[in-house]
Symmetry: C2
Subunit: 510 residues, 2 copies
Amino acid sequence: MYCLVKFAPLFLAVAVCNGWLFGDFVGKLKELDEISLWPLPQKFQSSAVAFKLSPARFQIVQAKQSSTGPSCSILENAFRRYFEYIFGDLKKPEKSRKKVYDSDLVELQVWVTSPDPECDGFPSLQTDESYELSVDEPSAVLKAANVWGALRGNSSKIKTSIFSSQQNNINKTDISDFPRFAHRGILLDSSRHFLPLKVILANLEAMAMNKFNVFHWHIVDDHSFPYMSRTFPELSQKGAYHPFTHVYTPSDVKMVIEFARMRGIRVIPEFDTPGHTESWGNGQLVDLLHDMYSSLKSCFLRPCFHSTYRSCRESNPDIQKFMVQQGFGTDYSKLESFYIQRLLDIVAATKKGYMVWQEVFDNGVKLKDDTVVEVWMGNKMEEELQNVTGAGFTTILSAPWYLDYISYGQDWQHYYKVEPLNFPGTDAQKKLVIGGEACLWGEYVDATNLTPRLWPRASAVAERLWSDKSVTDVDNAYNRLVQHRCRMVKRGIPAEPLFVGHCRQEYKGL
Amino acid sequence: MYCLVKFAPLFLAVAVCNGWLFGDFVGKLKELDEISLWPLPQKFQSSAVAFKLSPARFQIVQAKQSSTGPSCSILENAFRRYFEYIFGDLKKPEKSRKKVYDSDLVELQVWVTSPDPECDGFPSLQTDESYELSVDEPSAVLKAANVWGALRGNSSKIKTSIFSSQQNNINKTDISDFPRFAHRGILLDSSRHFLPLKVILANLEAMAMNKFNVFHWHIVDDHSFPYMSRTFPELSQKGAYHPFTHVYTPSDVKMVIEFARMRGIRVIPEFDTPGHTESWGNGQLVDLLHDMYSSLKSCFLRPCFHSTYRSCRESNPDIQKFMVQQGFGTDYSKLESFYIQRLLDIVAATKKGYMVWQEVFDNGVKLKDDTVVEVWMGNKMEEELQNVTGAGFTTILSAPWYLDYISYGQDWQHYYKVEPLNFPGTDAQKKLVIGGEACLWGEYVDATNLTPRLWPRASAVAERLWSDKSVTDVDNAYNRLVQHRCRMVKRGIPAEPLFVGHCRQEYKGL
């Protein structure tokens, strides 16, 4: 006599779900695939016509016209990765199957158009990541100027094929896509807590799924120095949490860089340049920088004046004497500027680029024209963006995306709603904002909780930095992100849930 | 010329760490072991004298005087578990070793004193969990009235032996211990998100390490009904997220109960009793309760009036008619009370105990004298404790321990600082508060993030409920909890870090 319909919503939900899982859904495909793409492509057209993908027949190949060849291992590697992901455990040809689909899709041709496909290169800020994907019978064609665009296209292609009834079909699709911002980064911190290699690699995989292209590796800091330098091995011997188990060997670093390269991701390691390296003399500092640059390609430098420095500077007679000599009086900011300036002069002499945190700009240090300034302070973000770009510097934004700050509920929506160019400035100034970063600082994060804390919250930042400015519908984003998150879970990445619900395949680990 | 001592704190930290890891530390053992116990025993005495534990010689045995025998599998199981944990991968006898320690400890004798050791029993609210542990040469003795106390003592013993230089030694110790509160629970929610069995079992393991003794299993709710009832299989067939992959079979439930029993943990499943079961008639409701009780021993009943109910009750003519018949007018609270009362009458007839959330008490429903009321609302917690105990009901507290609410920083300290008996009432009233529960509701939690979100935050609740009221020093707790958390990590449980630092063995999973 009471509420007979209490369970009705559940029954309905199950019915809908069963429809997706087992039913005839060709008519639903268009809608379904549209909502499952993340980040949303710039241009996207999909039809209800669906093609069957059979693991026995389907192959990913390089197009005949492509400037790449079989030796382009970055592509061959990606083909294997994506094939495995699409077909999963399905190893055997299907013996009998119903003819449900319009026809079969037999191959994906990957066509790299530029004379230099960059197979052995590294992605850079100038990399053209655009691609065009056309899914039609009998072949799909993925066209890109270079391997990096091809990687981005592959990542989209698998998304169009994953959330369908048997998982092995794909609907007629045309995608023309490119990123809104060139720098789309994730900062991880391996100093406050050591991050085992496995965790870093898994997160590079997740980054690729979200079209991130920069791994900002906050590799060392006051707390520990796990980077094993060939030039100065004593830094990690004495500075790491443990000299054997809590370090990154040169081979580890090399592996991270190559693993990232295979996914179109640049690694930008950040080096604390502690005051005491001065005691080694400039020659040695150049050696250290050379060591970093040669193995690491590019570098984020952090002139570092922390509490330990502040507590000692006033009691150190050498510092006091130097202050007097230079006529700084008691103005320690002059001392810091002096140090930073000398450091950057040394770096400039190596003729490599560098990035700095906003304080270096704020302190009036003279920077090279091509310096990238990272705006991270949340309180006067818009004013800072105005000032930094007004001074003509290239800028990336991380202030609204400190993902180590957690709270109850769907905070991904806050990250999603940020508009990076929403500050007063000319068009020329806006163009200087080349992207942003989601930062996961390590005070409360290590291998135990890093991955579920980062994903899918960072995915919100990924779409903001890739998709068009007009893509701002939070409800639509929620529906797509729920599915995108389940794709990550399916791939073994423990991305946490957005809200109540389930994935067809739940996380299998602990 | 700059800050030469910048790295000094790091060097010092490493030196201290190396001292622990490699150095001569016998003199430090007492201090070290004292700080590593969690939850802190009621009485504890330790000496600097240390004994060597050799995996080749050491054994855990039942004392000759013990009322248990070789067939007491709950003990034999625990012996194996703890032996493996203490010695880990060390399988081979050590060929040569330096004589550093006073002497060897060759065995731990476990002595169960009660004529009925309860080897095949289940822990209950009345269970005596006290134990005495004396570590001295040549034998350590663990004395307890029954197997449950023996389990608690084993858990303490391994803690005294883990954080030492070679991991395989133990210092002279006397512990006399018992819990402050009898009910120390963890609530997990498998309805909002399905929790794979593996995750539940891993968390039972973590619970045992923290001396929790109740698993409050919020097994079903509006969102999904994963409990596969033998009597009413359609409930999970239609109500689970997926009828095959997202359900708990009777065998699963049996395994959870047995796995928990082996660790001295009671399983209290919570059943939503939706209004529409009324439509089956009382006979069938009794059948369902019988099914639950027979397989599940005890039960937490939740008369359930949620939004779906509220939205339908006003549009359902049967309900409207019934309201008029009973003379309820438009007072729906009378309708709810009527339903709850009938439900509890049925339960009472089964002559089993039950627990209810505080609303049932607040709504003036007549409860059996032995009903346990759970106080969970945070706003008027002290008043509610006063009222519920004032009415003579046994009470457990969860209001301050909703661990699904997360925030940045060390929120475990808030949980730790709670004093459950800090409400106005007589001594008799205080005695009615039999414990508490840490609740991890599932809106934002599933297998991807449950374990690091629960631990070690729940450990704070564990110590509050086990240790003496006077154990309130947060700094001391921090130092012990850091080590306790590393013990969990070592055991494969991804307990998240409290703050910057490291474990000797970091988490190996993802």
